[in-house]
Symmetry: C2
Subunit: 766 residues, 2 copies
């Protein structure tokens, strides 16, 4: 008897800095143009590719790239994650202790987005890219990151909504532009800090629902919905923010798997959006190439699947399907060597642009080290991000808590989130320097005794006796509960969006005790109707996934150390919404025949708590300036747009509306100024309203005022028609300020409609 | 600052034998009649209950019973599990090492049921109850067990199907009768070995599907389907096998939560089935009482919910809702003390019947100890149970493997089950003395090199290169894959029943290598069509969840050490079946208006692999004896039934049909003789066929014969009408032997139809 075990396990490589960057001085590539820092980036990459054999080229097409040892080109892992901080992933290697054992862990995007603070996002992304470079310098990560997830969060059931900045396309666009700038180190800089990757292109927002999963789902989307909604964040990434990489998705779009679709990868992405900058490349989601063969069954063979994807413009395969099947497809003549060369030139140009082949002196990023990771400033920023993202949904006056100092107040802190630690990070997280749970933070409060009780054991009543006893023994009951990645996650959509009935039963028992009950609603949205309608529940605070300082931020809000000013970045739907529209229905507009009541606040008006909602510890009034004219001629607007400065007319400035906000209450507070456009113009049905500008104002003192500038562009006024064209229509327009609306500005467009952006059509089949 | 933490965690009690049985000699109860072993069991229990205060009574109504310290009545945990061996559960306490650190772990019921061997089940249950008593004697378990799960497995999506003996009601009834006899130590013995609990009463077979879950689901079932199918296993438990306990379920049945339904708990269970034996009691599923309030919203208040349940006849609450709310309901006058007394008398009579208040000398069970646990006989039985349950689904002649002895054969053993250990146990398992994975067992084979490769990383192709390399390097490829409790489990139904497309892709690549590919299909059924239709896949062996000796059993089958003879206990449906009928549709019969194509082999004829199917390593022919008459008069059949011996007419013997089985091949093998009744009689639609008898014949040598006796009863011929009555109808009957049918016996019933069992009707509302 003999036995040989080959375990399919990752090699636990001990990083060796020596094997990081190619040796362009003494290595085999020293005389290759790729090492010539004075040559153009593409020329350098082309020279490297020219030095490769065809078999070596095949080997370099997967995320786990073996490199080319004979050329001194080391192995490279293209798969790094950094959704809200440098994150555990194939290419990121935390040490077990000491230096590089952790990185700053910010809130999930769904929470940071509630801050409506683009500067915050830029600051966070700058920390992330700094820490990423520090990790790279000791060979503990690569230089490209598969972040952000920028699919609009159009249905509350989607399991990955927490990874996104919410449902609104304008908000997503502003957010992601700041994020990419922070990650990449400016707008298309000579040397990129890191490469960001906008994913998942496109119309990906279903994990697993009924018999559908993300691998087999064919999203049927109208051209209008596609151009106006699903594509918009990617337009910003590619056209406006010069993101280095785009990831095609698992799903098919209107019959074609996205990674094999030249219409979206070439016609839209590269041609229409001019995403042809140096080293811009497309990677597949992990095994999305395999999915072209099965379960999409779009290509009849594995060989055809890889050829289709490569020809369509997917340059890199997360997975091994390219590496396994491209050689056989090539032998069958299914593609030419020029196609694989094009892909590799893109990929290696990206590495050139990251300074991968340059001396360390070429960029200060190469000097970053452990002292630049998880700095006190970064930790303060993680707290600030959580505080800014917290949304006050209900308050009968109990908040901020007035805790006596002459005796201890007993707080019962109960629920599945009461002692949450990694749970606060959501998914795609790294190892944090600390994780301050609500319990930890409450225990730091002066003059407070904390009685802790964990999850409600829903649907079983295990432990209810203890929880009721804890509540009885307290002066104030704080429930920290909701959902987590046990309920919504990658690969798992929700079916229901109501609170578990047993939780409502138990919270109702707490609320009958005649003492204050405060609910910290955590994770993504649930229908809060039973909590909102119960007068014995004093307050509801939404915290989402607040990250490593989440507990501190929540307690700072409860005690008034920080005054909440976040706004919901998504609609809170009634529980029955899930029975009205299938998750597979990609339609945004109400549809009487399917029963779809409409999606997002743009098309749906029956929210339990609307998009943009958020209370304060004070009161604000808002007033808006009038525009320079009450009426505008469309042809004048178009002709006065400086096409050189604004090659994309939707970005041409229209008017800046000043909104003056006055704090009429007694507590200093931030205020998020939201501006929505509304009106009956363009094709029916008309959207209810659409966000077109926002600005967070900071620290407005009691009695004080501040002014936000809502900068409208022509695109703010445009609407997409059924062909997807962006059109300026004559009609009456209103700018609505705040949620609910506090001020309104009206103006008129006259004359003939004009196209701002002509959308490329999918070529006819055959 | 001060902080007080009350963790909601289980106390890690160190069992103390002294606190196990009440001291009936010197303790406070010594003079209470409960300690008088000569008194009747109910009288003894009543005496104990009479000694209790009302508050003490409330405390004793939950599964975690505090006992009554002043009376020397120790705390008692009613929640023990033993689905396929003494299992980890609130009342079962394995030691960390040494004595009582493990117990024999048999295959899951779905695998044992495939053996179609009732004697095997009795032997297994006898081992389980022996080990249970041994654990109890050292205060490491209680004396009642919440097993078996006997809901018929009518839809392949149900997450808990693995816990059941399959889809056929006759099979379930035979299986469970043997099981209860083995667990309880005979039929209603003077001292029970343990109390078994038939669950979940009734029509429970949905975990979580779309917006439905087991807590909120209201199963709408016709009286006909209820009487003929969903109720049948419980009829055997209660009426025929005198099971000690029945568990009511989470779901509602036709609008009424089962634990609050006097129709099923009183009219059917206790009145119609005469389930009124000493100490027979009903427990709720865990928090099913809470569910009456929410999410069923059947009772308007928590108080009404507990009163409804107690009055309906639910004697014990798994959970705390009785303990919390019965006092308040009592204060409101919602029930009388006699109702709670009745419940407690039932519960304590059950403990009396277990010898709980008797001296140790009263029963040999009290002498069982560690030397009686996991004996070599028990371990051999676990292997035998797995071997008998394995089903050969496809074989082109590759099996049994002929391994050369003059050189080593290299076997690639690949897939998520290749090194399965606890996975082989499914759910509700205990700590096994060992877990012999397929890999372990393969490594024990002489003249074999094993190359191991793990799961297919589906849907990602992670590790495919290594797996393909392993396959390339081997002489024989064995794939051990399928589903597990990651895919189907308590609380999680399936949406799809096809193999992951990526698995089929990869297995197809193995099959293109020109070497034998054998698939060990593990877990519950998947649509094997792509494997069956691929001529390069040589064999398929279904192993289900084969328990601690699962790897040994599988290798014994592959190598021919054991010749497989199991039969599928469920229908293998085509993948599209899930699109034809909702999981929530409880209808068994085909229904043109809903699209339901029918459920189980009784009503559905388009199986990929049918119920009862199983190949052998040899060939068998079967022939059947003729009945004593070709025609029978119904009135004569009824009048000749000895009502004293058979108070339930369905159990009256009809005819014993002898089936002679001849082994016409060259390998000694068992053979499972299956007899189905079929014919066009009674109400339309007619069932395709229904199992009425089976017998496993053992070790039939090549050329040899054996004879099975298929004992038909009047019930074998009866059919349920729309009122649920069991009726003998005139008509032509056929007994079909084997799958596919090898022999047929025909006879006729004449005269006027007669009712064998008149089903109780649900009283009209109000």
């Amino acid at each position: 008897m003999a036995a040989l075990i080959i375990g399919i396990i990752a090699l636990l490589a001990v990083p060796t800095v020596a094997d990081l960057f190619p040796d362009c001085v003494n290595g085999p590539l020293a005389n290759n143009t790729v090492c010539d820092a004075s040559a153009a980036a593409v020329t350098r990459a082309q020279a490297l590719v020219d030095a490769l054999s065809i078999d070596e080229k095949f080997n370099l097409t997967g995320n786990t790239s073996p490199g080319v040892p004979r050329l001194g080109l080391y192995s490279y892992q293209w798969w790094q994650e950094a959704l809200h901080g440098v994150a555990s992933s194939p290419g990121v290697n935390f040490s077990k202790s000491g230096d590089f054992s952790h990185a700053t862990s910010f809130p999930q995007p769904i929470t940071m987005s509630a801050a409506f603070d683009d500067a915050l996002i830029h600051a966070v992304a700058t920390v992330v890219s700094t820490e990423a470079r520090a990790f790279n310098n000791v060979n503990r990560s690569g230089l490209d990151y598969w972040t952000p997830n920028i699919n609009p969060y159009k249905d509350p059931r989607w399991g990955r909504g927490q990874e996104t900045p919410g449902e609104d396309p304008f908000h997503l666009k502003s957010y992601v532009a700041s994020l990419i700038d922070g990650l990449q180190g400016g707008h298309d800089p000579p040397i990129k800090k890191v490469v960001a990757t906008c994913k998942h292109f496109v119309a990906y927002d279903l994990e697993m629902w009924e018999t559908y999963d993300r691998y087999n789902f064919d999203a049927m989307v109208t051209t209008q919905d596609l151009a106006e909604y699903y594509m918009q964040p990617f337009q910003t990434c590619a056209r406006d923010a010069a993101v280095g990489s785009v990831m095609c998705s698992y799903n098919a779009l209107n019959g074609v798997p996205t990674c094999a679709d030249p219409y979206i990868l070439q016609d839209v992405l590269r041609d229409h959006w001019n995403w042809t900058g140096e080293g811009h490349y497309v990677t597949s989601d992990c095994d999305a190439i395999q999915n072209i063969y099965a379960p999409h069954y779009y290509a009849p063979t594995q060989q055809q699947a890889v050829a289709d994807a490569l020809i369509a413009g997917t340059d890199l395969n997360c997975g091994t399907y390219y590496q396994t099947w491209l050689p056989r497809a090539y032998d069958q003549g299914l593609f030419n060597e020029t196609v694989i060369d094009q892909a590799l030139v893109r990929l290696y140009t990206a590495l050139v642009k990251l300074g991968y082949f340059d001396p360390a002196s070429a960029t200060p990023y190469r000097s970053l080290g452990w002292s630049d990771v998880a700095t006190s400033d970064a930790e303060a920023l993680a707290l600030k991000a959580a505080e800014e993202g917290i949304v006050l949904i209900k308050n009968d006056g109990i908040l901020p808590l007035q805790l006596p100092t002459d005796h201890n107040t007993t707080i019962a802190l109960l629920g599945s989130w009461a002692n949450a630690t990694t749970t606060m990070q959501g998914n795609y997280y790294g190892i944090a320097p600390y994780l301050h749970s609500p319990l930890y933070a409450a225990q730091q409060l002066p003059n407070v005794n904390v009685i802790y009780g964990g999850g409600f054991g829903v649907p079983t009543t295990d432990g209810w006796d203890e929880l009721l006893g804890a509540a009885e023994a307290s002066d104030i009951i704080i429930v920290a509960d909701g959902i987590s990645i046990n309920d919504e996650s990658e690969g798992m959509d929700r079916y229901t969006i109501d609170w578990p009935p047993a939780s409502i039963d138990l919270i109702g028992q707490f609320a009958s005790m005649g003492k204050p009950v405060i609910v910290l609603q955590m994770g993504d949205q649930l229908d809060n109707t039973p909590l909102l309608s119960n007068p014995n529940i004093s307050a509801i605070v939404w915290g989402g996934y607040p990250g490593m300082a989440g507990g501190d931020a929540l307690m700072n809000v409860l005690t008034g150390k920080y005054a909440p000013a976040g706004r919901l970045p998504v609609t809170q739907y009634p529980a029955d919404y899930v029975n009205e529209v299938d998750l597979t229905d990609m339609g945004l507009r109400p549809n009487a025949s399917s029963g779809n009541p409409g999606r997002t606040y743009i098309w749906y008006n029956e929210a339990v708590v609307p998009f943009g909602y958020g209370l304060h510890y004070t009161n604000f009034s808002a007033s808006a300036s009038q525009p320079s004219q009450s009426s505008y001629d469309i042809s004048s607007l178009v002709s006065s747009c400086n096409k050189t400065q604004y090659p994309y007319m939707d970005l041409c400035p229209f008017e800046a509306i000043n909104v003056t906000v006055k704090n009429t209450g007694s507590v200093t507070s931030d205020f998020v100024t939201l501006g929505f456009i509304s009106g009956q113009y363009g094709p029916q049905p008309y959207p209810i309203k659409q966000l077109v500008a926002y600005e967070r104002l900071f620290n407005i003192s009691a009695g004080g005022s501040a002014t936000a500038s809502l900068n409208l562009t022509l695109g703010s006024l445009g609407r997409r028609d059924e062909k997807g064209d962006l059109v300026l229509y004559p009609g009456d327009y209103g700018l609505l300020v705040d949620v609910p609306t506090q001020a309104m500005v009206n103006f008129t467009l006259t004359g003939t409609q004009a196209v701002l952006d002509q959308w490329p059509q999918r070529p006819a089949q055959g």
